[in-house]
């Protein structure tokens, strides 16, 4: 059972980590609670479904086109709708949620509510420590690890990374130091949406596609970034694995309560908040500056 919990939890944790990293990045840099984030994950999955199914495009080019299109779309909507109201947090919340629901309705109109599947890029399965996993799952896991490593390198080893981290720490001082904070926020949005789109691309062959598929991951992502600490990517990644393992634990220990996996991870979030309100690696609110 331990092997089961570890392998399955690891896989789910990677997906949550990828989604949460982007969400945390845009919150840290732009101070935007971007509720449209997981809707981009849904859009990317549907674009791949359409390209492979209706247009007959091969999987790899379909993934690239989907990520590119979703990223461009995400930046466009950010510049058009969100950037002008960035200072008004409540407006941003409403705007991003409304945009997500708009995307859902558009997908419902175009594809209907039917449950769709994207063919796996790699067929077959293997057994890791007695646990059966598909090769597609392993490919998705490797891809996510690669992408997260690339994000870490970007943030820690490049000038752009320095600008992103500086803006996240203190916008005013970053501005005074000559960093174009507006452009930096846009680039953060670009990276965040790209990460969400990549998450959609890697999970589309694993999960069922339907227009409301963005809602559960949004709840999980919110829980993850709160547990990890708002604006802390390191914290978000750690929290993603904590919550993924918590969910998997429930399925194995309480099979009759498997549907409670989401609620259990939110319970973990509440416990962490009670013990450490700023999250695992977050900055305590009053001391933020």
């Amino acid at each position: 059972m331990l092997a089961n919990i570890f392998v399955v939890g690891l896989l789910n944790g990677c997906v949550y980590a990828l989604l949460a990293a982007g969400f945390s990045l845009i919150f840290g840099v732009g101070r935007i609670l971007h509720l449209t984030h997981t809707a981009y994950y849904m859009l990317a999955a549907y674009i791949i479904f359409h390209l492979i199914g209706a247009a007959g495009v091969s999987p790899v080019p379909a993934v690239f086109v989907s990520v590119l299109a979703t990223t461009i779309g995400g930046v466009f909507f950010y510049r058009l709708l969100i950037e002008p109201v960035r200072e008004h947090e409540t407006t941003v919340l409403i705007m991003t949620l409304a945009l997500a629901m708009f995307f859902q309705e558009v997908m419902l109109l175009i594809f209907g509510g039917h449950f769709r599947g994207v063919p796996a890029m790699v067929g077959g399965f293997t057994t890791i420590w007695g646990v059966k996993v598909t090769y597609q799952y392993v490919l998705s896991l490797v891809t996510i690890v690669f992408v997260l490593t690339a994000v870490w390198l970007l943030l820690s080893k490049t000038r752009l990374g320095i600008a992103l981290r500086a803006t996240a720490q203190d916008r005013e001082v970053a501005n005074l130091m000559g960093i174009n904070v507006g452009l930096t926020a846009t680039l953060a949005m670009l990276i965040a949406v790209a990460l969400a789109a990549i998450a959609g691309a890697v999970v589309s062959p694993l999960y069922v596609l339907e227009p409301a598929m963005w809602t559960h991951p949004l709840v999980v992502v919110l829980a993850v970034v709160i547990v990890g600490g708002m604006g802390s990517i390191k914290g978000s990644i750690m929290a993603a694995f904590i919550l993924a393992f918590a969910e998997t634990l429930i399925v194995f220990l309480v099979p009759n309560g498997a549907f409670l996996r989401g609620a259990f991870s939110l319970f973990i979030m509440l416990v962490v908040l009670m013990l450490k309100p700023e999250g695992l690696y977050g900055v305590f609110f009053e001391g933020e500056r």
Partner: protein, 439 residues
């Protein structure tokens, strides 16, 4: 300033497009194609209530429009000495996402669209609310999708209020469970006869939804009585997107059968991941998604050997079944699911109206309670709870299994003297046979 003007223009264009799309796209209520009333006769309006953005609602609508066109082609429904056409009105309840929306939709259908009757419904939680609204307006509502026993128990508990409710499809949860266990017995019989497994281990995989609860309770008592071992019950969310954890846990439990009770999208996930991982346990039970023609496509071709209860199969359950089945497939490219029971429901209403000679509810109820109707899924007789009678000679449902890319019927095949033509034996997945034959 220029940026603000540009943004405003883009927003204005987007709003105009959105309004145009809404006006041209799916509307909350829509008239039935080919079922419009000739100017001279007042139509009988039947509200078809269902989640129209989803396949369940699509089948509600397809079944209803098919029968409306047939009836109108034949001249309409005779009410007294007048022939009146049928007009079906599409009512999108959005019930999968919102119970409140569903109740509001029914209220609107009765007060704005002024429908005479209601057929359809899918999600039990929503239909319970929709039923209350229909009963407030004393409108006959024929259910074609919700299985919970409470819907018909209400008729017995408070007849005067709930007498306007009749369930056409599916069987209620208790009877679904009964047939479910009969299908389980077929799978167990195959394991005993072909692999010598005398006491099969069963894992129950039931989505967390109201309609599945009675089946979960029944399984705990019944499976041991059937000479099998219930090794565990897993309750994923009906909208779960990944069940790798559950399937691996089931594999570790040593189960040889996955007894499934799934109607939501989780059924597709289970079928797909079960086939991808080649879990050595036969899935049998209620897989609503596996009743659809697009099952293999949705599961990436991995859903072979999944067996599910079904309301319809291309077999002569009555002399009306095959013509209905073929017409539905030809029209829609899909197999009819139990939601297409609106076809049956409207035909039953037609017969009742013509017998009673009126649209008056109490007169119709008397006819509906006393008569027997020959439908496409069997002979329909409503019992005192206004539920269909189950059993040989009445409605039985069928067991179907995906074999080599085709949905074939494997049950009933000699059950209580009932065998529908074309039944094939239940087939075991090759990886299961390989695992247990080595032993």
């Amino acid at each position: 300033m220029r940026k603000n003007v540009f943004s405003f223009m883009v927003l204005a264009i987007a709003l105009a497009l959105a309004l145009a799309v809404t006006a041209c796209g799916k509307t909350a209520s829509e008239q039935g194609k080919g079922a419009q009333a000739p100017a001279s006769a007042q139509p009988i309006k039947i509200g078809v209530v269902g989640p129209m953005g989803f396949v369940q609602g699509e089948h509600h609508w397809l079944g209803a429009t098919m029968v409306a066109e047939e009836i109108n082609k034949a001249g309409g429904i005779k009410v007294g000495d007048k022939m009146r056409p049928v007009e079906v009105v599409k009512i999108d309840t959005n019930e999968i996402n919102s119970v409140t929306d569903a109740a509001s939709a029914v209220e609107r259908a009765l007060t704005v669209d002024k429908v005479n009757f209601l057929v359809g419904g899918f999600r039990t939680e929503a239909v319970l609310a929709m039923q209350e609204v229909a009963m407030d307006y004393k409108t006959i509502f024929m259910g074609c999708g919700a299985a919970h026993t409470e819907l018909c128990d209400r008729v017995e508990k408070n007849y005067d209020r709930f007498k306007y409710w009749f369930r056409v499809t599916p069987l209620n949860s208790n009877l679904l469970a009964k047939v479910d266990f009969l299908l389980l017995a077929e799978a167990a019989k195959a394991l005993r006869e072909q692999l010598g497994i005398q006491k099969p281990k069963v894992a129950h995989l039931a989505e967390k939804a109201a309609w599945a609860d009675p089946i979960v309770a029944a399984a705990e008592k019944t499976i041991p009585q059937m000479g099998m071992e219930l090794v565990g019950t897993w309750r994923p969310s009906a909208t779960a997107t990944d069940v790798t954890a559950e399937l691996n846990a089931i594999k570790d439990s040593g189960a040889q059968i996955i007894f499934a009770t799934l109607s939501g999208p989780v059924g597709v996930v289970v079928g797909r991941q079960w086939g991808e991982l080649q879990i050595p346990a036969m899935p049998v039970g209620i897989f609503v998604e596996a009743q659809k023609k697009g099952w293999l496509e949705a599961t990436g071709g991995k859903g072979n050997y999944v067996a599910t209860m079904n309301t319809y199969a291309r077999t002569a359950m009555t002399d009306k079944t095959i013509s209905f089945y073929d017409a539905f497939v030809q029209r829609s490219g899909q197999f009819p699911t139990y939601n297409a029971g609106t076809y049956e429901a409207i035909n039953i209403l037609k017969e009742a109206i013509e017998k009673a000679g009126t649209l008056e509810a109490d007169a119709l109820i008397k006819v509906l309670e006393s008569e027997t109707f020959i439908g496409t899924a069997g002979k329909l007789k409503f019992d005192k709870k206004h539920d269909v009678t189950f059993g040989p000679g009445f409605v039985t449902s069928v067991g179907t299994q995906w074999q080599d890319g085709e949905l074939v019927m494997f049950w009933p095949n000699g059950w209580e003297g009932v065998t529908y033509p074309g039944a094939k034996p239940y087939k075991l997945a090759p990886w299961l046979v390989e695992k247990y034959k080595k032993k």
